[in-house]
């Protein structure tokens, strides 16, 4: 029933549909990367600084790696960090928001002050410090995004839980004899899902951009190729000076398109779950 309703929604919501298509294409690209890349991204397969040619569609870098292959492999890193980083944020955010909203009182006060503290830390600066301290690896980047990204979600979840908690239908359930666990299971959790899904998708955008930013600053995982890292090497190895646009523009475009894809999907889902936004 839900699936059919969603398909019907997709039909008239071009935004959601285009976001979904972008993400599906990128995901397939990431999954079948080994089969569609012309070369091993870590192998020297041509002369250094080669311009685009039939052998190397996007040329080669300073060592002779094929840039197109690196670009395709880069989608794996971006999607992995994006989805897992956002998952971490949403998980911590939901747990803290839920506990604060349901428990109330002193617990709420303590958790919300903690949230405020994390919220006022300058995000990108602290992520840089954290990754530099923990060491540049994919898992450390995901961890850092989680540590700093949850507060806004926690606030959102808390206020939503509080509004659900005081709603008349929860009071009605209480008057019928429902206890706390029943109300959580049948009213609070189902009420949260339409809030969490779009928020998750939109958080992926932040997460992907953070990874790209870190990699561009040289804090990316050196064992994995990523779009940010392509830009980092392009910059320090003089791609800009030499006017090698084929090394600079494609990764930038990929980051933009991926971010856009999740943004479109997230906005569309928000509309889907919250009919008040529907036109």
């Amino acid at each position: 029933m839900g699936v059919r309703k969603f398909l019907l929604f997709l039909r008239h919501s071009k935004i959601t549909l285009s976001g979904l298509i972008i993400i599906l294409v990128l995901s397939i690209m990431a999954i079948i990367a080994p089969y569609i890349t012309p070369y091993n991204p870590h192998a020297i397969t041509g002369p250094p600084y080669a311009p685009p040619s039939r052998q190397h569609l996007l040329g080669t870098d300073d060592i002779g790696h094929d840039i197109l292959s690196q670009l395709i492999y880069g989608s794996r890193t971006s999607l992995l960090v994006g989805t897992l980083g956002a998952l971490g944020c949403v998980f911590v955010g939901v747990v803290i928001g839920l506990v604060a909203g349901v428990a109330g009182g002193a617990v709420d006060e303590i958790l919300m002050r903690l949230t405020d503290i994390v919220l006022v830390i300058p995000y990108i600066v602290f992520v840089i410090v954290l990754v530099a301290y923990l060491g540049p690896s994919i898992w450390n980047i995901i961890l850092s995004i989680t540590i700093l990204g949850w507060p806004s979600i926690a606030r959102m979840v808390r206020s939503y839980v509080m509004s659900l908690k005081t709603s008349l239908y929860v009071e009605a359930a209480r008057s019928l004899g429902a206890d706390r666990s029943y109300i959580m299971k049948y009213h609070i959790f189902p009420g949260l899902i339409p809030l969490i899904i779009p928020v998750y998708v939109l958080t992926i955008v932040d997460s992907i951009l953070t990874e790209a930013g870190l990699s561009f600053l040289g804090l990316g995982d050196p064992t994995k190729v990523s779009w940010g890292m392509l830009l980092y090497y392009a910059q320090i190895r003089g791609a800009f000076v030499r006017g090698m646009w084929w090394w600079v523009v494609p990764p930038g475009l990929m980051i933009t398109i991926t971010g856009l894809g999740f943004l479109l999907l997230g906005t569309g889902l928000e509309e889907y779950f919250n009919p008040r936004f529907r036109r």
């Binding site: 008349l168 239908y169 359930a173 008057s175 019928l176 004899g177 206890d179």
Partner: protein, 336 residues
């Protein structure tokens, strides 16, 4: 007359009580920046009974404490002081299984059928809610729910629809079906029709009356709509600023109101027939209810009362039996 005597008088004239309310008070604190700066005396010492198998109508203006009283009687909120006895048991002392048992027998239908049903649940889930909450085993849940739907004038085609697909009246029927699932003995009806169109109101009221006759239910009917209360109630209690000012059999109170406030309230009731309306004595409605945070001293109604005497400004009038089974809190009828 103290509240014990009062309750005994009521028992002897109204009959066996389902619910007994004794000196019930609920003060809501008003929070300032640093400390509590006062209390809203929403319910300020009310005593009454709801006779078994009958309907007690609780009337009064907005903000007089009607709904708070209803919520207290079902223990949705805890009182500041006082007692409510349900079947002879003090409900504020109930715990665990006993409390759950009480929650099964005493139910509430809320004013706003748009807010009291979870928009994400189907009708089936809504009506099964009390069954699941009480962990009761039902042989055939679908059949069980359909039977309840029939009882409130809906049918099996409505089973898997969502609340937003229904009109206000239908939603209120769903809310009633949900309450009936537990086979309650006592239902608080908190303005069940005030959010509905007039034409739908009558249907719901008749349904409620039929259900009462069929299942032997006891109702506490809360409303500000005097016409509706008169139609529904066997007995009436009139509230003003957290106090009961008059109580008695419905017809008697309507035909022969004693308290000046009740007279004023009834005078404000529109009469459908314009020729009848001309005959009706005119009682001017003066002022509006004062704030329940700082109620006036003495009788709370004295600033608006055309009969106000010296004593009314100083001493609060007790609720006394002015005639057999007709109680009133006014110095015009009480011994000074």
């Amino acid at each position: 007359m103290n509240s014990k005597e009062l309750i005994n008088y009521m028992k002897s004239t109204f009959g066996e009580p389902m619910v007994e309310v004794v000196d019930l008070k609920k003060y809501f604190p008003v929070k300032g920046v640093f400390r509590t700066i006062g209390y809203v005396r929403a319910v300020d010492g009310v005593s009454f009974i709801v006779p078994k198998g009958k309907t007690l109508g609780l009337v009064g203006e907005s903000g007089c404490g009607k709904t708070t009283t209803g919520r207290l009687i079902l223990r949705l909120i805890e009182p500041t002081s006082g007692h409510v006895y349900f079947d002879g048991k003090d409900i504020f002392k109930l715990k665990g299984k006993k409390l759950l048992e009480f929650r099964r027998k005493a139910q509430m239908v809320f004013q706003d059928p748009y807010m009291s049903l979870d928009p994400r649940m189907t009708v089936f889930d809504i009506i099964m809610e009390p069954i699941r909450a009480h962990k009761i085993k039902v042989e055939d849940p679908q059949k069980f729910v359909v039977n309840l739907l029939y009882e409130v004038g809906l049918n099996e085609t409505h089973l898997y629809r969502y609340p937003h697909e229904f009109s206000g009246g239908q939603r209120q029927r769903i809310a009633v079906a949900r309450v009936l699932a537990l086979e309650p003995e006592f239902i608080v009806l908190d303005e069940p029709t005030s959010a509905l169109d007039v034409s739908v109101q009558a249907q719901i009221l008749n349904m409620l009356k039929d259900l009462q006759a069929k299942r032997g239910l006891t109702y506490l009917f809360i409303s500000h709509d005097l016409g509706v209360v008169r139609y529904m109630s066997d007995y009436i209690a009139v509230m003003y600023l957290g106090k009961i000012v008059e109580m008695g059999p419905a017809e008697e109170v309507f035909e022969k109101p004693l308290h000046p406030y009740t007279k004023m309230l009834f005078a404000s009731m529109p009469v459908p027939d314009p020729f009848e309306a001309k005959k009706k004595p005119k009682v001017e409605v003066i002022g509006e209810p004062p704030s329940p945070i700082n109620p006036p001293p003495g009788c709370r109604f004295h600033p608006r009362c055309q009969y106000a005497m010296d004593i009314c400004r100083k001493k609060e009038p007790p609720l006394v039996m002015a005639e057999k089974g007709h109680f009133v809190a006014c110095w015009l009828y009480a011994k000074k």
